[in-house]
Symmetry: C2
Subunit: 108 residues, 2 copies
Amino acid sequence: MEDYVEGAKIFKTLGDPKRVMIVDMLSCGELCACMILDKFEMSQSTLSYHMNLLCKCGLVKARNKGKWTYYSQNAEVVKEIEQLLHNITSDTEDCICKGNNIDTCDAI
Amino acid sequence: MEDYVEGAKIFKTLGDPKRVMIVDMLSCGELCACMILDKFEMSQSTLSYHMNLLCKCGLVKARNKGKWTYYSQNAEVVKEIEQLLHNITSDTEDCICKGNNIDTCDAI
DNA sequence: ACATTATATCGAAATTTTTGAATGCGAGGT
DNA sequence: ACCTCGCATTCAAAAATTTCGATATAATGT
């Protein structure tokens, strides 16, 4: 149950095209906020808001160095969300229908 | 660019624990709405709303049979979203940073 | 010390999402 | 014809999200 909540939080954060693009940009490696800001038409405070969401859900890490904040993907969480997406879209052992997490399942 | 928008729509739809659970339930196969409703504490209209969202983003298909509506995962879209998630989280050729979709990328 | 630069935070407005009650509607059963 | 069942749609209210301007903070350069 908690898995679903945590996962949904990450999916929700990815539920915005700009944030998806930001994550994609970070797949090449670390970037500071100003680099990311250059690529978008949004205010600095708005970007900061989006980066905060990405960090809060765990998908992105922030590293401070002097005036700059460098952002990068959190490999562990990336693995976890890929795993969850795979779990919920394939007939695995720990599926809800197998009786886990939910009482019964009178499937057809 | 359109890929990000379409993908974000799917992620956004998965941005709710109940909808994640519903998708998981469907990984075992087709289920009618009433079966799904049994597992949750929500009104029938609310479930209908959620199922509509899942269908609109393409992740779920609906099939009508008599009084019932059977829902199932859309395998193609599932594949697409898994692919997208993988693309944005790994250093692939078509990454934004490689110059695609966005003008330049003066990474560090 | 002062100005500048990079980023975070606050506040407020606009928009979107979520929910259930009420209602509509088509399919079967009697 | 009428009733019931499964589901969709409409409506309105509540809650959450998104955005930017203004302001704060902290580091760095002169």
